[in-house]
């Protein structure tokens, strides 16, 4: 993996469900990016001052894309970029891992991005996917085309992804499980799974990040071995080790 810092042009910015899918033109990044890697993306200039960490969504030989959810001023400005605008890009970052051929993916909301990226290395399995409303569910067709059984639920229909898991808990047995969602979702899933399932489960952890290179020590997550940095020791951690507050 060769990490670089470069200024890359935006190829496209389009709505995908409630999010913005931003595609950057670049021939190198995707060759170096592995499963589990992420990137830091920043607007040019000094304000906003910090870049933001993003999971890859997908990529090819000419470009790669990320999924942006408007949460604050930084992501609001980022979601307004236009074709030809330039962004600062640092990556690939984080610890890569080798996903199983088949397994269980669990996503809540924008947590769909890293598991979608991960599915590119897999030959199928099951996706459990929860979102606020039906129109917020994205990429389900693509998951099906990749050979995944897709189980969805929305708050609009009165349920959370944890409710879905409770109904189908047997489907998780013996499989590796990958979770990406809010802290609350990860905590609640940990309560539902049995010990054998927890042993084979991993969580994508999200924290406020300053640099992405282990320099600022900001993105600490509590684990059974004390604090670890999400940027250099994550972003994926065994569920049994990580203590999500």
């Amino acid at each position: 993996m060769e990490t670089t810092f470069r200024i890359l042009p935006v190829l496209e910015n389009k709505k995908l469900g409630p999010y913005h899918k931003i595609t950057l033109k670049d021939a190198q990044m995707y060759n170096h990016a592995e499963c589990g890697n992420f990137i830091m993306i920043g607007l040019q200039g000094l304000d906003p001052y910090l870049p933001r960490p993003f999971s890859f969504l997908e990529g090819n030989k000419e470009s790669f894309s990320i999924l942006v959810k408007m949460k604050g001023r930084g992501t609001e400005l980022l979601s307004k970029v236009k074709k030809g605008d330039k962004l600062k890009v640092l990556g690939p970052l984080g610890k890569a891992f080798c996903p199983p051929e088949k397994g269980v993916l669990i996503a809540g909301g924008i947590g769909i991005a890293p598991v979608y990226y991960q599915s590119g290395w897999m030959k199928g399995g099951i996706l459990f996917y929860g979102a606020k409303s039906r129109k917020d569910l994205i990429l389900t067709r693509e998951f099906k085309e990749k050979g995944f059984k897709v189980r969805t639920i929305t708050e609009e229909d009165g349920g959370l992804v944890t409710d879905l898991l409770k109904k189908h808990t047997d489907e998780l047995n013996g499989k590796q499980i990958f979770i990406c969602g809010t802290n609350e979702m990860i905590r609640n899933i940990k309560r539902i799974l049995n010990i054998e399932q927890i042993d084979k489960a991993y969580a994508y952890v999200e924290k406020r990040m300053g640099c992405g290179l282990g320099g600022c020590k900001s993105c600490a997550v509590k684990t059974v071995e004390g604090y670890k940095l999400v940027c250099t020791e994550g972003p994926i951690f065994p569920l049994k080790e990580v203590k999500i507050a």
């Binding site: 060769e2 304000d47 640099c211 320099g215 020590k217 600490a220 997550v221």
Partner: protein, 295 residues
């Protein structure tokens, strides 16, 4: 290549650009060519490991960043065994930032660090409950810690001062009298961020340390005040984002400067600044950076 070298007390740095403590770690060597830097200051080392503060530890502010890291480090023993040998491989001046909760702790850490360019004594961290910037606010304590450290080491000693006092000249003078080779002016400014959803301060320790371009005029003023009152080399630190900021610090009286959080914004900033400093000297028709104050 033009001569960008500067004198820092007895040391000759190849240029005035030093990477500050607490903003970088070894993965940065993938991006920055460290041998081009005038020096680096490593993350603060304390006698015993420190876990650091509970997250959140960082947030953005207008043109800046506020942190509450809490000097997370694995302690002196680990530092000597695992980190120091790696630091020595970086082909630049290495300064080791040391931190203690008492004079005794400072002495123990200082006595163990050898074969580097110098020590930077961190008496000014705003994010810890014991020690930290309480030390740097009192000239008597600044004097006694500096003196104690200088008695334990043969290395040049730099004292990192707090900006959170009215008369930074007094603590700079105290550091000088204690035997310091130079002072770093200055550390982050204490500040507050409120989480409007929780209706509480964002950080568990209430305040954090503000850095970035937002504080540059304040930190620059501290350099100016010290320069006009105390005869000691000053390392200017606070909000440097481009080569013009470096020039401002040098003209205000700094012998060298530290770059901090700008490397989060742009990891290549140190290299771009060096290139632009060279261009500036060339455009001015100067021979070297020592002519920066030429009228």
């Amino acid at each position: 290549m033009l001569d960008l070298s500067v004198k820092l007390g007895p040391l000759e740095l190849k240029n005035p650009i030093i990477l500050a403590s607490g903003v970088w770690d070894f993965p940065y060597t993938k991006i920055i060519d460290f041998k081009r830097l005038g020096g680096v200051v490593c993350k603060g080392v304390s006698l015993k490991p420190k876990e650091g503060n509970p997250p959140p530890r960082i947030t953005e502010t207008p043109c800046g960043v506020i942190n509450s890291i809490g000097l997370e480090n694995k302690g002196l023993e680990y530092f000597e065994r695992e980190i120091l040998p790696e630091l020595k491989k970086l082909r630049t001046h290495i300064f080791v930032n040391i931190f203690g909760e008492s004079v005794e702790e400072f002495k123990k850490v200082a006595s163990k660090i050898k074969e580097v360019a110098g020590l930077e004594v961190n008496i000014s961290c705003p994010n810890v409950s014991r020690g930290g910037d309480k030390f740097a606010r009192d000239p008597k304590i600044v004097f006694s810690i500096t003196k104690a450290v200088c008695e334990e080491t043969e290395l040049p000693v730099i004292v990192k001062l707090t900006p959170s006092i009215e008369n930074i000249e007094e603590t700079a003078q105290a550091a000088k009298e204690g035997g310091a080779m130079a002072v770093t002016a200055s550390n982050t400014f204490p500040g507050l961020v409120i989480d409007i959803e929780r209706k509480k301060p964002l950080f568990k320790r209430i305040t954090g340390g503000l850095s970035g371009p937002a504080i540059k005029p304040l930190a620059l003023y501290n350099v100016y005040k010290i320069k006009n009152a105390v005869d000691i080399p000053i390392i200017g630190s606070g909000g440097i984002a481009d080569y013009r900021d470096v020039l401002e610090y040098l003209i205000a009286g700094a012998a060298a400067v530290q770059l901090g959080s700008i490397i989060f914004n742009n990891p290549l900033a140190p290299i771009e600044i060096l290139d632009n400093l060279e261009c500036w000297i060339r455009e001015k028709g100067y021979e070297n950076l020592k002519e920066v104050n030429k009228k």
